[in-house]
Symmetry: D2
Subunit: 388 residues, 4 copies
C-alpha cells in the first residue's frame, strides 16, 4: 500500500522533522518514540508501513531541505547524525518539493496544485496521496457566501481573487485531485460546507484541526481530572512563550486570536463552564524551536477550600508534532482505503480543535481512536482473507 505524504509547508520545521524522521524510521536508524500508531493498541495491518511512505510537498520558501535539517540539528531538534546518514534520501525528497504555485486566478492555482499531486501519484505509482497542511497559521478567513455552496465556489474560483484562504485552496485542490486532506494547523482548511460537499462528492475523508502537542495536551487530561473529582476550577491562566517560525507568525494578533481560542475551548467543553483567566502567546526569539508554557489553575474543593496547581511545559513543538503527522498520514490513508468519507471525528485525539468533537477528554478520545483502528485492522484482515 504505497502512500504519498504531501506536505503543505514542506520546508518548515514540522515538515522537515517529519521527513527526516520518516526516512530514519524506514532506514531503521531511529525508533518510533512519539509515534502513536506504533503503540501495541494501534499497530496493525491496515496502516501503511513507514517503508511505504513517499514524501513530497509545496512551500513558498526555497531553502534546501538538507540545510533546514542541519539547522534543526544545530538547534537540538534533530540528532545531527541522522541528517549526516541520510544525504541521498533527503536529496530524493528534495526532488519532490515544488514551489507554491502562482496563477492569475484561484482556479489556476488549484489546477497547478492538482497537476503537482497527480504527477506525484503517477510518478511513484502510489495507491493514494494524503495531503497534510503544516504551513504557518493563517489569520481568520473572511466569510464569503460561496463557502456554503460548492457550485457557487467553483464559479467564484474563476474570478474572485481571495475567495478562499490558502489552506482552503489547498484543501480544495487536494480533494479535487482525489486526495484525503489533514489540517494540522488552526487555519480554515477543509472546514467549509462547500469543501465538505466536495469531499462527499469525491468520496474522500478529511481530518483536523490544530495538532495538540503541548499545553493543550496537558489541559486535555487535567481538566477531566478536575471534572471527575467534582473540583471547581475558578481560574485557568496560561502563558505560552515560543520562538521559531510559528512563534513570529503568532506574534501577529490576528493569527494569535485563532490559536488562543482553539486553546481555551477544551476547558469550557470539558468542565461545562468557563473559568476565569486567559491563555496568552508571546514570541521570544531566543527560545527557538522549544516552547515554554506556564499555567496556573486555582480551584476550590469541599466546603470551598481554595487550592492551586501550576505547571511548566518545556517542549519541542517540532519533535512533538512530527510523529503525529506521520500517524495522521497513516491513519487517514487507512481510512481512505476502507472507504471512509467526510470528517474523521475519531482522530480527535490528535487535535486541539477536533472536527465534530464529541469530547475534549484525552482518555475518551483515546478510547475512540483505539476502537477506530481496531475496526480498520479487522476490516483489512477480512478483506485480505477474502482476497487470499
Amino acid at each position: 500500500m504505497r502512500t504519498g505524504v504531501w506536505l503543505v509547508g514542506a520546508r518548515g520545521s514540522v515538515a522537515t522533522t517529519s521527513i527526516v524522521g520518516g526516512l530514519a524510521l524506514r532506514a531503521h536508524l531511529a525508533g518510533p518514540t512519539g509515534c502513536v500508531t506504533e503503540l501495541p493498541e494501534l499497530r496493525g495491518p491496515a496502516l501503511p508501513a513507514f517503508a511505504d511512505l513517499v514524501f513530497g510537498g509545496h512551500d513558498v520558501a526555497t531553502t534546501p531541505l538538507a540545510k533546514r535539517a542541519e539547522t534543526l540539528a544545530a538547534a537540538g531538534v534533530l540528532p545531527g547524525r541522522l541528517v549526516a546518514a541520510l544525504p541521498d534520501e533527503l536529496a530524493a525528497v528534495e526532488e519532490e518539493l515544488r514551489c507554491a504555485p502562482g496563477g492569475d486566478t484561484p482556479a489556476d492555482r488549484v489546477a497547478a496544485v492538482v497537476r503537482d499531486l497527480t504527477d506525484f501519484r503517477d510518478r511513484h505509482r502510489l495507491d493514494r496521496v494524503v495531503v497534510v497542511n503544516v504551513s504557518s497559521t493563517e489569520p481568520a478567513a473572511h466569510p464569503h457566501p460561496a463557502h456554503a455552496d460548492l457550485a457557487a465556489l467553483r464559479d467564484a474560483l474563476a474570478d474572485t481573487p481571495d475567495v478562499l484562504p490558502a489552506s482552503s485552496l489547498y484543501a480544495y485542490a487536494a480533494l479535487q485531485a482525489g486526495c484525503p486532506y489533514v489540517d494540522f494547523t488552526p487555519s480554515t482548511g477543509a472546514r467549509l460546507p462547500a469543501l465538505h460537499a466536495l469531499a462527499v462528492e469525491r468520496g474522500l475523508p478529511y481530518a483536523g484541526h490544530d495538532g495538540k502537542t503541548g499545553e493543550t495536551l496537558v489541559k486535555s487530561v487535567l481538566a477531566p481530572m478536575f471534572a471527575m473529582r467534582h473540583l471547581r476550577v475558578r481560574s485557568w491562566s496560561g502563558l505560552n512563550l515560543l520562538g521559531g517560525g510559528d512563534g513570529a507568525n503568532l506574534a501577529d494578533p490576528a493569527a494569535n486570536a485563532a490559536k488562543v481560542e482553539s486553546k481555551q475551548r477544551v476547558l469550557g467543553e470539558t468542565l461545562g463552564y468557563v473559568p476565569q483567566g486567559e491563555t496568552r502567546i508571546d514570541y521570544v526569539e531566543d527560545l527557538g524551536d522549544f516552547k515554554t508554557a506556564w499555567d496556573l489553575v486555582t480551584f476550590t474543593g469541599f466546603l470551598d477550600t481554595r487550592m492551586r496547581m501550576e505547571f511548566t511545559w518545556h517542549g519541542c513543538d517540532s519533535a512533538l508534532a512530527a510523529p503525529l503527522v506521520l500517524d495522521l498520514a497513516r491513519l487517514t490513508a487507512a481510512a481512505h482505503a476502507a472507504g471512509r468519507v467526510g470528517p474523521l471525528t475519531e482522530l480527535a485525539f490528535f487535535f486541539k480543535d477536533p472536527l465534530g468533537a464529541p469530547t475534549h477528554s484525552l482518555a475518551e478520545q483515546w478510547a475512540r481512536l483505539t476502537e477506530f483502528t481496531r475496526d480498520l485492522h479487522a476490516g483489512k484482515e477480512n478483506a485480505d482473507g477474502h482476497a487470499g
Copy 2:
C-alpha cells in the same frame, strides 16, 4: 437506608472535616463540591442520602470535636461559619465518639470494638455501618503466619499481643460485627488473606488503600498521557512538603517508606517501565494542613529530543480527602446492600494503591466506577420496582 459511618481516627483532620461537611450537606449549608457521588454520572437511588448518614467513631485522642473543627477553621481548612452554625449537630456526634479500646489481649480489644459498633447500629436503628479507617499511617506490619489463615488468626488473637497492627485489628472487628470496611490509609487494614476469608465468611465487601488526593492524583492522569502519546519518561522525581498531624507522622522513615512506595507504583504500572527518580516526603510544620508537592518529569520524544515538565500542587489534604470519605461510605454501603462480597476493585478511582487494581489510569478507573454505580442504581430500581 439509614447508614452509619464509623471513623477510626474520628478526631483527626480528615474525619473532622468529613463530619462537619456531612452535617453541613445535610443542613443544606454547603454544596457537594468535591463529592464524586454527586456528579450526574454517579448520582442515583442506590446511594444513601447525606441525610441518612449517622457519624460515630474511635480515637486515641480526646480533644472535643468542636474544638478540632475550630482549629481547622482557623487554619483555613473549613469555613468558621459552618462550625458556628452546627453546634448541636457536632455535640450529637461527640456523643457517638469512643476511646480507642484497650484490653489484655487482641481478642479483648476486638470484642470491645465489636460491642461499640453493635451498640451504635442498634442505638440508631441503622441498616448498616461502614467502618472507615482515617487514622495515622502505620509502619509496615510484621509478617506472622496467622495472617494467612483465619482459624490460626482467631487462636493467635487470644494470646499473641502484636499479631495484628491496629488497622487490621479494626478491620477484623468491623467484619466480625458485620460491617463493611474501607481503608483510606496505606496501612495494612484488611489486606491479609485471613481477613479476606473473614469478609467472605460474613458476606461483606471491603475497599482500599490509601486515598488518592494530591500528587498521585495528578500522576494518574499525566502518566497515561505520556503513555498514550508514546513519549518516553526518563525520570520522574517528586518532593512532598507537608505539615499537619500526618506530616509529622510521615517524618518517621518507616511510615514514610510505605507511603512513598504506594506513590511510585502508579508510574511503573502505567508506563510499563520504571523511570529514574524518587518521591520524597518531608515534614514542614509551617505548611499546616496544606501540602505542596513539586514534580519534575523529563522525557524524550521523536528522535530522542529531550523535553521536561514540572508541576506544583498546593492542596489541602483534609479538604480533598473528606468528600471522598463520604463517597466511599455511600458507595460501600450501596455495594453491601446489593450483596457484594470481597474487595471492591471498582473503587480504584479513589485510591493510590487500589485493591486488585487492573489499572492506575484515572480515566479507566472512572469508566469502571461509572459502570459500577450504573449497575448499583439499576439493581436498586429493579428491587424497588419489584417491591412496589
Copy 3:
C-alpha cells in the same frame, strides 16, 4: 514629633491595611514584620514613633473604613481579630476621611484639598503632614506646556479643566499646603518640572514612584546576580495575575502600559542591555488581593551554554505595600524635619521606578538608604544634644 499621614485613596486596600496596621502597632497588638524602618540598621530617634502617627485621607469611595477592613480580613489580608480589637480607633480615623473634593476649576479643587490638609494639621496640632498617594493607577497623563513652568501652571489651573491628572493635582495641593508628598503609584504625581519648582519654592521633599512589592522586588536582586556573575540574560518574560481593585484597573491597557514599562526598566538599567521578553499583567478576579507572578529567565554562561531559571511569587500586595507606606511616611517626615528639599533619591529602595535613580540594584539601594537614615539619626541626636 506628631506626624499626619494623609492617604489619597484612603479607603483602598493598601490604605486600609496601612491604617489598621498602624493602629495595631500603636496598640502593641501586632509586631513590625514588613516594616523596614524597624530593622536595627534603620531604627533611630529621627523617625516619628508609630504612636505619633495620625491618619486621615481623601477617597472617591464611601464604604466605611471598618467595613473595608472586615472585607480584607475575610479575604485573608488582615487578621480579623485586629479589626475586632480596634473599633474606636477605626471610628476615629473614619472621622478624618474626606470625600475627594469637586469644584468648577482645578484651582477650586486644589483649594479644597489645601483646606482639608490645613484643617487636619491644625485640628491635631501636627508638626507636619505627609501626603501619600495610594489611589488607583492613572492612565499616562497628556502633556501640557504648563507642566514645565510653575507660573504658567498656576494660570492654567484657573481655567484649563484637565491640565493636571488627579495625582498631580493632589501633589500640587500637598506642596501648596506645605506637606511633603510621596507617590506609591506609577501615576505622574510630582514628576513635573513645575511641581519640582513648587517643592523647591516651599522647601519640601517628595518621593516616588510605584512601590516595589513583588515581582520587581525579586527582579531587583536577581538581575544584579546575573550581572555580577557575568551571565548573559537572553530573555526575561513575566506574567502577573492579579485580582482586587487595582487588578481590574490595570486590565485597562492604558494604565497597564505605565505599570509594565516601570516593571521592565530595572532590567535594562541593571544589565546594561535589554533582554528579549515582555512583562504582562492580567486581571483574574478570583485571585482577590493576592497576586501570582511567574517569570522565566533564559541565560547563557561560559562558552554560551544555555540555562534557565523560573520563579513564582505568590504575594499579598496590600500586606507588602502597607508597611512600606508607614516606612515612607516616617522617613519623609524625618527628611522634612531635617530640612531636605526636592526628590528623595535615597528612598529608591522602596520604588519600582525611583526618582533620579542611580541604581536599580536592591543591595545598592539598601546601602544608600542605611547611610541616609544614619545621617538623619545623627543630625537629630546632634540637634537634640544642642537643644538639651
Copy 4:
C-alpha cells in the same frame, strides 16, 4: 606573569571545561561570559592574562582529555566546534597531566606531588602555580590530633596512613611546594590549623570552600532580600536533582551531608534565625551535567499575612563552575604576587561556605571583592610605576 593552574581532578567535568574554556579564550575563539574577572569592575593589570595561564593537573582517572571534552560537547556542556578547533592545545595539556601519585606513606605521596608541581613550574618557567581542587566531594574527614599542630602532622605523615583526607594531602603538598591552594569543593582541603600554620610559614594565601554555582547563589541574593524587607521566612525547602559524576558521588549520604550543611548555612547566617525546611540532593542520572533545583520559601509579611515564593534553577554546573575556576586562579595568583598570606576572605563571593566569612550576602561579598581587586590593581600599578 606566567601562571600555572594545577587542577586536582584534572579530567573531571569542571576541570575539562575550565581547560577548554581557558584555551578557547587564549585563542580568541570564545568570549568571557561567566568570567567575573572580565567585568569592568574587576578587570585590571594585577591579574595574569588568559594567555599567561598554563594548565596541568592530577587525576585518578585516565580517560584522555580530548575524549572527555568530546563527551561534554555531546552532552551540550561545551560547543563541539571548540574541541574540534583546539586539538594541539588539548594535546599539550594532556602532556601535563599526571596520575594521582601512590606511595607507602602519606609523606611519600606528598613528596611525589611536590615533585610534580616543582617540575611543572620549572619546565614552563612559571612565576607561580595555583593548585585548585576540583575533584569529587569527600566524606567528612575523621578528626585527628595532628590536624591541630604542624609539627605533629609532619610526624604523622610519615607513619599514619589516613591522617589526612586526600584534599588535605594535596593542600599540604601544594603549600609545601610554595603554591597557593584553592578548594572549589566542600572537602576539608586547607581548613585545618596545621595547614594554616604551614601556609603562614611559607607565606602563601589559600581560598575556599565549595564553589557557589546554582541554588546557593540564588539563595545568597534572595535571603538578603527577605531580610532587607523585614519579611519573616517561615520555611525554606529545596530539592537538588543532579546527574553527572558528582551527582553519583553525592548519592553517598556521607558526602551529601557535607554538601547539604554547606548549602543551608547561608540562610541561618543571613536571616539571623534558621527557618524550617531542609535541602535535599538526589541523583538522577538522566539529568547528566545539568542540575535542576526547586526551592519553596514560605514567609509572612505585615500582620502575619502568609505568602510564598518558589523557584526552579536549571543550570549546567560545569559551565557555571569553570569560569570561576579561572577567576579564582587569576585572583589567587595576584594575591600571592601581592604578598598576601593566609585565608583570602575577600573571595567569599565565589563560595558556598567561605573561609572566615563575615557575610553570606552576595551584594556585600561583591563589594568586598571589588575593593580587593581595586587594591590589587593599584598596588600593581604602583609597583610597575616604581619599577619603570
